[in-house]
């Protein structure tokens, strides 16, 4: 008797994750095996057939959005390098996780850039920090460190100059230790041994040469001779890292033909402050204040993503209580206020870039100041809130807060917190948004400068793993609060803002709509806060809040932050090595990956539009470079 293959219940592009994984396993039994390590998910694909199967995953199974691609170094835990990919469907749902492994020596994994261009920067980062080569990647050079740097610093056996121990807390400081400064032992902060034949006289900075190498410098005489009429010279213009319009220390190298940009190469890493390496030395709790400093405009949102990822891991263990309802409501309150700050800031600085220098920003900063006052009263710090904890929060709302209510003088006034919030959410913020719309949305200059500039098509946006307003401005209604809901978003009533044009103006409109949606969410949060007054923000005491027991496994927690999808990929060794530190701590930064299509979006526009296009993507360098 011949058994018939069961007819698929649904087309492949609508299968559940388990069905999709089963399909891959049955169709490619030799190349695919289940990842059956404790607490791990997904499949491990043989590196040789990775490219072919990635095509299947994207085209046949419909996982068209590669959210995150990152490397893990399993030194001493199998001694291999691993690339971990999280692919999603742009229609929503959870992730298809697939991995590919390679040896630590001569690590090499085929590049997935032919399938997803969004893998471009992430693979360059994996090469830079982990030393994995990606055959098939067209431009594989260092991205965060400079060309010529010695070693691949995220490898587990690479030690920084101020290395003290593998993991914190250091024995020298706790328990009962004494203050010990590693720079006293290594005063010059050096950890490189120079070859004896080093010729210091001829030592030159080769990092710059690498930047310009791929630009094809030199004049293409034939091309210039072919042109009729005007003869323009092609030249290279360097913008940044010190430039008032690059939103920090970002750098772009442009080749321009007259005023028109012919190619653009983003150069980053000027604020690469080793977030991930430090994060892997830290304990889980240590990392919360560090996440504040990623996207420093909306620190609350960063906290949220990180605690979600760790809670996801903790929920596998026994001693874990999910956060209470009041805690979730407070988290949403904070996150939505951060989103308002972020979007006001983004719109303001985008206007700076297209010529309305600093005056509009002042109005938005004024509104931000009120929210900062609120954050300061609740969390103790204006910008770096360090507010969320695993399974809870740092503290409940205070009864009363002090704030500068009118900005014409410095008089500090005392408010009831709920009254302050109600007034801010129901009156002040909507008024600011109305004013903003009145002055800008139909403004002739804004329209002239932004419509049709920096267009990103729908397919390209998905393929480049764009996220946030950049993705939704291109007609993809993808918002993680709806696509893969977390916290109490499923019960809240709001719409996903989306625009179809894909240009600068569409992104501006998406941000304005999201401001309104945030206000709508906040209005629903207020009664929930009133109703849960007196409820604890901790489910069961503070179990696990300060020394979380994180079981073995991996987790990818992601939130819709102001700038897009902020994801944290965390691998826990589960205390197997006697510590409570993440084995791998990776941040999928929207500001970083959103820069992938920048070159394509800018080509053909004038130099003056470039800063506007960059402003409309809305990056923050703390997150881009980490």
């Amino acid at each position: 008797m011949e058994t018939l293959a069961p007819a698929p219940a649904a087309p492949l592009t609508a299968t559940s994750i388990d069905e999709a994984l089963d399909y891959l396993k049955t169709a490619h039994p030799h190349a695919v095996k289940a990842d059956d390590r404790d607490g791990y998910q997904g499949i491990i694909i043989d590196a040789d057939s990775l490219l072919e199967l990635a095509q299947v995953i994207r085209d046949d199974l419909g996982f068209d959005y590669l959210s995150s691609a990152t490397a893990v170094d399993y030194l001493g835990e199998g001694d291999h390098m691993e690339m971990v990919y999280h692919a999603y469907r742009s229609s929503g749902g959870s992730a298809l996780v697939f991995k590919a492994q390679t040896d630590r020596e001569n690590a090499s994994i085929p590049s997935l850039t032919p399938v997803w261009r969004g893998a471009d920067f992430q693979e360059r980062e994996a090469w830079d920090l982990f030393g994995i080569r990606f055959p098939g990647h067209g431009n594989l050079k260092r991205i965060l460190m400079w060309e010529g740097f010695s070693g691949h610093p995220m490898r587990k056996d690479w030690r920084e100059a101020y290395y003290e121990e593998e993991q914190k807390p250091f024995d020298s400081r706790w328990p009962g230790g004494h203050v010990h400064r590693s720079e006293e032992k290594n005063v010059f902060g050096k950890n490189v041994s120079y070859p004896a034949d080093i010729d210091l006289g001829r030592l030159a900075d080769t990092s710059e040469r690498a930047v310009y190498q791929s630009l094809g410098l030199g004049v293409d005489v034939e091309r210039i001779m072919d042109k009729d009429g005007f003869e323009t010279n092609e030249l290279v213009v360097n913008m940044g890292p010190h430039h008032p319009s690059t939103h920090g220390v970002f750098r772009m190298v442009l080749t321009v033909d007259g005023e028109t940009v012919t190619s653009l190469e983003p150069v980053m890493g000027y604020l690469h402050r080793n977030h991930e390496k430090i994060g892997e030395r830290n304990t889980y709790l240590h990392n919360i204040p560090f996440t504040d400093r990623l996207d420093y405009i909306s620190s609350m949102g960063n906290n949220h993503g990180y605690v979600l990822a760790v809670e996801q891991l903790m929920s596998l263990g026994r001693r874990y209580n999910p956060p209470t309802y009041r805690c979730e409501a407070l988290r949403v309150l904070m996150v939505e206020l951060s989103r308002i700050v972020n979007h006001l800031w983004a719109i303001g600085f985008w206007l700076n870039d297209i010529g309305a220098f600093f005056t509009p920003v002042l109005y938005f900063i004024q509104e931000r100041e009120r929210i900062m006052d609120f954050f300061e009263a609740v969390a103790g710090s204006r910008m770096m809130c360090n507010y969320m904890r695993f399974g809870g929060l740092f503290g409940d709302l205070p009864e009363r807060i002090k704030s500068v209510s009118n900005l014409t003088n410095d008089r500090v006034r005392d408010y009831n917190t709920m009254q302050f919030l109600t007034e801010m959410i129901n009156e002040r913020i909507p008024r600011t948004i109305d004013e903003l719309e009145l002055l800008l949305t139909q403004n002739e200059i804004v329209i002239e400068r932004s419509i049709g500039v920096g267009v990103l098509s729908r397919d390209e946006a998905i393929n480049c793993s764009a996220a946030g307003p950049l993705l939704r401005g291109s007609g993809v209604a993808y918002d993680i609060r709806r696509a893969e809901p977390y916290s109490i978003y499923p019960e809240l009533d709001f719409d996903v803002a989306v625009e179809n044009a894909g240009d600068m103006y569409a992104r501006y409109q998406v941000r304005v709509k999201e401001l309104r949606e945030s206000v709508r969410i906040l209005r629903q949060i207020l009664p929930r806060l009133e109703a849960t007054k007196g409820q604890s923000i901790w489910a069961d005491g503070k179990v696990g809040a300060y020394a979380p027991r994180v079981p073995l496994g991996e987790a990818y927690g992601r939130v819709e932050n102001g700038k897009g999808e902020l994801g944290y990929y965390i691998v826990s060794a589960g205390g197997r090595n006697g510590t409570s530190n993440p084995w791998r701590y990776h941040v999928r930064a929207p500001s970083f990956i959103n820069l992938t299509p920048l070159g394509a979006m800018s080509t053909g526009h004038k130099v003056a539009d470039i800063v506007g296009i960059l402003g409309s993507i809305d990056i923050v360098l703390g997150e881009t470079d980490r």
């Binding site: 460190m145 740097f149 290395y163 010059f188 490189v192 402050r273 004024q366």
Partner: protein, 292 residues
């Protein structure tokens, strides 16, 4: 700006009351400094998180133009003050030093926040410079992570007070009136690690030592060396704790190796061991007392 001439009056020489709003008698230094302190132009230059608070300080609520920091210039050639607002990375320090060299004298540097002052929370990172003062002379340090706008304003006012104290009669105070052009700060080079040209000699010595296979602190195998020192210290502690406590029992010698910082290291270790021994003594006494 309303000029308050009375503020400038610096001598005992009496000015008639009716002329107080028109005449001031003062020293040249004070007049000169008064002009400079009230027209500091910071460079429009943000590095990291602190830059956001710097923008907040510039905006309407805090408004540092009240103190004369009116105009932020995007070009270093028009700026008097460099506010290093954020983490200085090895990759970024090269352009920062270049920008500093492009600023005309007199020029000042304000290190804003923990990172610019000493590396801050990111100091242990492999790409982070532990403080701007490793490369440039810093005039004012503002603590905080990030400093509040009030703190930054306080730092700026502190800088103004520093300017008040400078005198054009003193060549050390105003080196920019010296002969010839000022010496530019050497720009670091991005090699296998960042290389400060001022440390070339040390690097050369290290390289020579490496060639003779003499391990020196500060070389790539530094972590192992650190561990070695730490391990030796631990055994020494064990010995010291085991030994009866009196002053001479601690007179062991740590491996020094003849490096310039070994002496300081030595002293620090001794101090630490003495503290540990005292602690052990206390604990044993306590145990004894409880036993009785």
């Amino acid at each position: 700006m309303e000029v308050k001439l009375q503020e400038l009056n610096a001598t005992e020489f009496p000015v008639p009351v009716e002329l107080e709003d028109n005449i001031a008698i003062t020293s040249l230094s004070q007049l000169y400094n008064w002009g400079r302190r009230n027209s500091m132009w910071p460079m429009l230059f943000g590095l990291a998180c602190c830059a956001i608070e710097m923008i907040a300080t510039a905006s309407s609520r805090f408004d540092f133009s009240r103190f004369g920091f009116e105009v932020m210039r995007a070009t270093p050639r028009q700026a008097d003050l460099m506010i290093v607002s954020g983490t200085v990375t090895k990759k970024m320090v090269v352009p920062i030093v270049r920008l500093y060299n492009q600023m005309p004298e007199p020029k000042y540097v304000l290190a804003m926040g923990a990172c610019a002052s000493g590396g801050g929370p990111f100091k242990e990172g492999y790409n982070v410079v532990s403080g701007m003062d490793k490369y440039l002379p810093v005039d004012v340090y503002v603590p905080g992570c990030p400093p509040t706008p009030q703190a930054l304003l306080f730092g700026m006012i502190a800088l103004q007070r520093k300017i008040d104290g400078q005198s054009i009669a003193n060549g050390d105070d105003v080196p920019w009136y010296g002969e010839g052009p000022a010496e530019p700060t050497p720009v670091p080079v991005l090699g296998p690690d960042i290389i400060d040209p001022r440390q070339m000699d040390m690097i050369r010595r290290q390289a020579e030592a490496a060639a003779e296979s003499m391990a020196l602190l500060g070389a790539r195998d530094l972590p192992a060396a650190t561990q070695m020192v730490a391990a030796k210290a631990e055994t020494a502690v064990a010995e010291a704790v085991a030994a009866p406590v009196d002053g001479d029992a601690l007179s062991f010698v740590l491996p020094t190796g003849g490096t310039p910082w070994a002496e300081a290291e030595d002293i620090r270790e001794k101090r630490r061991l003495r503290a540990l021994a005292r602690k052990a003594l206390r604990a044993s006494r306590r145990a004894q007392a409880e036993g009785e």
